[in-house]
Symmetry: D2
Subunit: 355 residues, 4 copies
Amino acid sequence: METSMKAAYLPGNSTVDFKDVTIPQPGPGEVLIRMKASTICGSDIRAIYREHLGKGPEAYQNKIAGHEPCGQIVKCGSNTKRFKEGDRVVIYHISGCGVCNDCRRGYMISCTSPSRAAYGWQRDGGMAPYIVAEEKDCVLLPDELTYVDGAQIACGFGTVYEGLERIGVSGNDAVLVVGLGPVGLAALMLAKAMGANHLVGVDTVKERCDIAKNLGLANQTFVSGSETLQEVLNTTYQNQGFEKTVDCSGNTHGRQLCIRATRKWGKMVMIGEGGTVEFNPSPDIIHDQISIHGSWVTNIWRMEELVERLVRWGIHPEDLVTHRFSLNEADKAYELMNEGKCGKVAIVFDEELKG
Amino acid sequence: METSMKAAYLPGNSTVDFKDVTIPQPGPGEVLIRMKASTICGSDIRAIYREHLGKGPEAYQNKIAGHEPCGQIVKCGSNTKRFKEGDRVVIYHISGCGVCNDCRRGYMISCTSPSRAAYGWQRDGGMAPYIVAEEKDCVLLPDELTYVDGAQIACGFGTVYEGLERIGVSGNDAVLVVGLGPVGLAALMLAKAMGANHLVGVDTVKERCDIAKNLGLANQTFVSGSETLQEVLNTTYQNQGFEKTVDCSGNTHGRQLCIRATRKWGKMVMIGEGGTVEFNPSPDIIHDQISIHGSWVTNIWRMEELVERLVRWGIHPEDLVTHRFSLNEADKAYELMNEGKCGKVAIVFDEELKG
Amino acid sequence: METSMKAAYLPGNSTVDFKDVTIPQPGPGEVLIRMKASTICGSDIRAIYREHLGKGPEAYQNKIAGHEPCGQIVKCGSNTKRFKEGDRVVIYHISGCGVCNDCRRGYMISCTSPSRAAYGWQRDGGMAPYIVAEEKDCVLLPDELTYVDGAQIACGFGTVYEGLERIGVSGNDAVLVVGLGPVGLAALMLAKAMGANHLVGVDTVKERCDIAKNLGLANQTFVSGSETLQEVLNTTYQNQGFEKTVDCSGNTHGRQLCIRATRKWGKMVMIGEGGTVEFNPSPDIIHDQISIHGSWVTNIWRMEELVERLVRWGIHPEDLVTHRFSLNEADKAYELMNEGKCGKVAIVFDEELKG
Amino acid sequence: METSMKAAYLPGNSTVDFKDVTIPQPGPGEVLIRMKASTICGSDIRAIYREHLGKGPEAYQNKIAGHEPCGQIVKCGSNTKRFKEGDRVVIYHISGCGVCNDCRRGYMISCTSPSRAAYGWQRDGGMAPYIVAEEKDCVLLPDELTYVDGAQIACGFGTVYEGLERIGVSGNDAVLVVGLGPVGLAALMLAKAMGANHLVGVDTVKERCDIAKNLGLANQTFVSGSETLQEVLNTTYQNQGFEKTVDCSGNTHGRQLCIRATRKWGKMVMIGEGGTVEFNPSPDIIHDQISIHGSWVTNIWRMEELVERLVRWGIHPEDLVTHRFSLNEADKAYELMNEGKCGKVAIVFDEELKG
């Protein structure tokens, strides 16, 4: 086995740095994983790639980049309890202390310990041939799913699944998704699998609407404009609105659209990050008995549940990947993602390269 | 307009009596409905047809039979507020006082007033060309649904929808239904529409299993035997069981099967009436963190909701009807239902006769 | 029995008009009620008293004023099913059609029929010695409660109870109430009865805070200022915030305070009407997994439930009444309420005059 | 520091064995705890003390007894993340693998790994001056609570809190508890703290009823007999029954009593282990729209939540302890518990000896 590897770092000036580093070895409770797929998240671009803007949990500490890693265990450290060599695994993207109340609920994302470290931010991530992860952060990837599926679960799909579970989605619901980046597309894909009987997507960019349509993820899509609220309402039963709405835009207009398109007694969930929202409580939520739910990432046991569902549903997150690159081409991958004219972008290794 | 009509009564000796009666006129808050479809319920056979066994709310007071009526309003009494001549309507099968707490929740089934009267039991029902109903008991039937669809909603489908809503059914769920009479078949049909991703049915009678299979309502069916529990578990993800189970058998063995086939953290609902149930709480529900829900009929606003869903789903309860008769042949219809070699049996009028 | 009575109208110029009118007679399904207590709501002042500002459901049609009436039935019209002469009753303040979906859920407040009429707005209200109400709008008042208790239930307490039920309040919760008018005081009183283990109130007006303190409704109160958020947080377990927060202020700052004082995983409900709200979803609700619930008035069966609870809790809404007037002094009562230097203001009759 | 200690074992013939053993040392992720209180659970008597009856998770492997331990950390192994020397801690009584789905939800009780080990059953427990525990199994005990409080939380109170949370208890509820051993008494104590407005307890043994009464935990208690159902109903509002009922008896009659005393729309939870239950679904749960919930132990994050609540409520589980013994007298303690003429029995150390 080789002892060093080439790994990608993000210096914060819209380029990618490669460094030769020693392949790490797993300690007690840790596993060494051969990387197979490592996708790029919008937050990588926003907070690291262009500039190192993030603070606190988003502060990049010049570690190997990539917080959506998926691969195969090649070596176990001492004292591992469940996973073994050969297991295919998704990595929950935050390594928490494991013993605070948040970690005990499985929400390592909100770990309150100073020892909390995000892969690709405060500890080495997935943009290298190997990664050491804690066993407790691993989720088993069944054979029915590909590594590129798995990389998407690590962050985006997990976040979406949690948000949809928060408001509940079934065949009783028409669902509106506003903001059709990878997260919004995932919301359409999962809402459909959960049984939604009518799906509508909205984005400011026509190309994104087209992706949703072309992938068969929405019954109808709309490029947002001054008439969008009425247009989306017109697609619903007696124009009464959507039982469930999902904001993935992170924008006050997108959020207003969701709130106002929610049917009486319906529920709206906010997944998209950043910005503000302003609305008029009396007509918007009080008189229509509506609730608005904040939902952040997910917990690790629900991520396991999602993996099970994906197999049962026979659907593949990798369908949202429009571009694959080898690690050598990581600079091109980040550049493309930065420009935004793409769906999901993946760095892939080994068998996933042939995809 | 004619002034008298022929109406069917059940004397309680396994025959049908026809009498000529005056066509009634609607009083204040009432409507006169031209009957179009009137289906037969298992409870008609059990409590009235063979013998007048029922007590209290099930005591038959020699009224025109039939508590699953559906038709078209031909005349409104004074002081009606919503419905008008020409409206197609389903009748909620119990007329409650409207002002007790149960009625105010919409559950006229459990009206606590002495004035409570079930259509076809304590007031005239649907086995006649005309019926007078209270406006407050009517549910609008949209053009997308047939009168035979509507008659089924009046009792069976409403009951099933409530039960499924009680436990929640979505694409996250594998669903087991035990007991495949008309109610069990309805449970499969609605669970599928609500998004269930795997459906299994069990009955003691092979013919009923075949109906479910032939109508495409279940992925698999099993004639119950000593191995049934293991067989149904084997159809689920890693043999872990069903997230949701529905008893429509009213039998202790059927109920045990449901409880024991429910997955850890799952929910079971009892819809089937009568009999007892015995189980072992520690292994059966405590260690698996399972809940068991009793659910009785439905309320009138949820029945309206169901009507809306059926239209949105594009499904038809009338698919469960295997035999149609004119009112003249009501004796044959009850006889057939009594023998049980059939799906749902309907008495139909006018355009529904041509079905 | 006398045949005419003096009734109060609000001409919209900050005065009260008295007119002699015929005492009405109950029709079918109606009851005649001898008025005992009729309280003044903030909405009366806002939308009618100063000017006739309201539109749609808030349009005042020059009827006898007063939408919080409580009295005793003195005569029943034909066809009443439950209530009888001598019954003490609260009147749900909106008379709906009774047959639309909203009415069928008991939410006459959002009745969708053109026949919808609010007592004191589009049909005669409680500011007269007698009122005719529909039986279906009456809620039985047990002997343990006074008529002044009952008048408060008719609007404010019902609305508060619904809002608290929406978010659930128990001994597990610290509860913050922002806005300490009669509705906010009711929120404190009911949250305490539902088991809240720590109660904090905030208002911009010191006098209102003092009322809450003096009535023993809050553990602590704060006059809102620049440090209020931190001050209220400091009263909670490890400064982590309130499990449940209730906005009764209808103001963007009050609502922000509620949202930001809500603990991780907590719930906030908006009851206060009007205005806007602006906040930052990521830190305010997404990262803390918080939900915001709109809640409007209540349904009639929950109002019955509230009446039952008040008896079981042994608490009295009338404790919030600071001033009582006879109907002759109605002008003084409205004037006082308009100035706002008071708690709840009641017009009372007969035995309640002696209070 | 001494190097050996005297520890208690249960040979399975209704005696206690003492052995001198080496004081263990904490490994990575482990802590050494100085024992302060170690209470005896009914399951110790049932499955170990008299005979070694238990199988699987209940198989006693001749380890130091005691699965309700509470003490103070005196030494941390390497790689601990949260707890430190001097911390007072409760130990969750099952040490799970930490990485299966059940452990990830915090329910180590249902850990599916072969490495699962219960303290006092498959690994050394609390009946010795020192214990080594995994840091991940520790719950911080605040200064406001005593070690004897903490020992009770470890098993009984945690189990009860989970059960009550499953059905929800607030000031809206009258609560019936059947079976007044330590678990049932805990149910009364916690239901009251959660806000229950009326509490009734039932047991077959008068002495247990008296304890509940004398501790002020119940408004009324009843020694069960042929009239008990009617007697407990008579204590409720209009004899309508209890919104919430809790079975701690593990007995079919106790469970029937709970189910039949549950009010329409109410919820019943089964906590008591063993035995069977038989009932009549139609009258017992279907027509009354009742649900029955199985609840098993609790998860570790909810146990932390319970600790917080106890502090906020200012209540003390140790109030249920009727007898304290030093470790030397462990044989007397088990003997007393075996006879059953007592409340909770505790082995105490150091400052708790003075209690």
